[in-house]
Amino acid sequence: MLQVHKKTLWYTVILLALFLLLGGSIVLLYQRIVLASAVIKEAEGATAVLKHKEQGIGNNKRGLEELSASLAALEKSFVSQHTFVQFVELLEQLAQETGVAFRAQGAVLPTSPNEKAILRFEIQGSYAALVRFFILLDAVPYAGFTEDIRIAPLGKDAETLRASVTFTIFNFSSTP
């Protein structure tokens, strides 16, 4: 009887140990599964975000390519130290079209953001021609502002007038 009892006891101890082992294993396994799921979820989420960013970057690049002509026009509407002569040439062209004589007298280019870009010039012609010139000047691509105009007859000839103009250029870029 005692022998049978001992055998049963041993079986119980073995099964108890197995129970603890299997219980520990299943808990460990479950934890590893949860951890791996979390890592995979985070990695896949981050990958999706990066893919979305890449798509956005591709769209932006395509947009920039499509707008390249407009961007070039935008950059050209700004005068810089290197392109200032083009602005003066434009005014000479306007003078030619409107029948006035144009002479640039001086320019001040800003060295700090608080300073203004100013061009002083003189035009000569009839009042109607001067007005035609100013109509075209008001519409030049370079945004600006006429700050001062002095109109007086050129000598004794009252028909021909001289206008001394101070023009401030807003669209001035310090970078070339």
């Binding site: 009892h5 197995l18 129970f19 590893r32 932006n60 690049k61 920039l64 007005v131 502002f145 109109i151």
Partner: protein, 190 residues
């Protein structure tokens, strides 16, 4: 039921054995359940473990691909373009046309008024004004000219010194026409 004929100590032994065997049975069942659970969990475990490396590798590849796109340079370019576009828009809103003013003064010109000089400038208050010097054949014609200037929408006020009214004929005048700020004014930049 027949009463048990076993002695008392054997009865205790039998009861203890019964309890032990019940525990044994329970443990067997629990062990079997745990074993089945482990068997079902193992495929998920191996699937996740083997795919984890692949997912992380895909993430790293995507990261590298994005780095190759030179995002920083693109962002800087877009930022510069946006700043330029905003500045352009702001400057366009600061533009004022001076030709309509010159046309207006031409329209107000009357035959008996001869203008000698015109000076368009910004006065001390920051408003713009036009200084006109000329001759009027009579005082009344000069006054009519001043009134016509005052009645113009673009004009805020006409400043005419009394000296202009001293002569009745061949009036040499010098007046200052202050312009309305809504019509022409300088808006300081950003």
């Amino acid at each position: 039921m027949f009463p048990s004929l076993l002695p008392q100590e054997y009865k205790k032994e039998v009861r203890r054995e019964k309890i032990l065997r019940n525990i044994l049975a329970l443990l067997s069942i629990l062990d079997a359940v745990l074993l089945v659970g482990i068997v079902f969990l193992l495929p998920s475990y191996f699937t996740l473990t083997f795919s984890q490396g692949e997912v992380i590798r895909r993430f790293e590849v995507q990261q590298e691909a994005l780095q190759r796109q030179n995002v920083q340079e693109l962002e800087n370019t877009i930022r510069q373009i946006n700043a330029l576009a905003m500045l352009h828009q702001r400057n366009e809103s600061r533009r004022k046309s001076v030709a309509p003013l010159l046309l207006r003064f031409a329209a107000l010109d009357i035959p008996d008024i001869a203008l000698r000089a015109m000076h368009f400038f910004e006065d001390k208050t920051g408003a713009f004004a036009v200084s006109l010097q000329g001759n009027a054949t009579t005082r009344n014609i000069f006054l009519a000219y001043v009134r016509s200037l005052e009645n113009t929408d673009e004009v805020a006020a006409v400043r005419s010194p009394v000296d202009n009214l001293l002569s009745e004929a061949d009036v040499s005048f010098s007046i200052e026409v202050a312009l309305n700020k809504e019509f022409y004014s300088y808006v300081t930049g950003p």
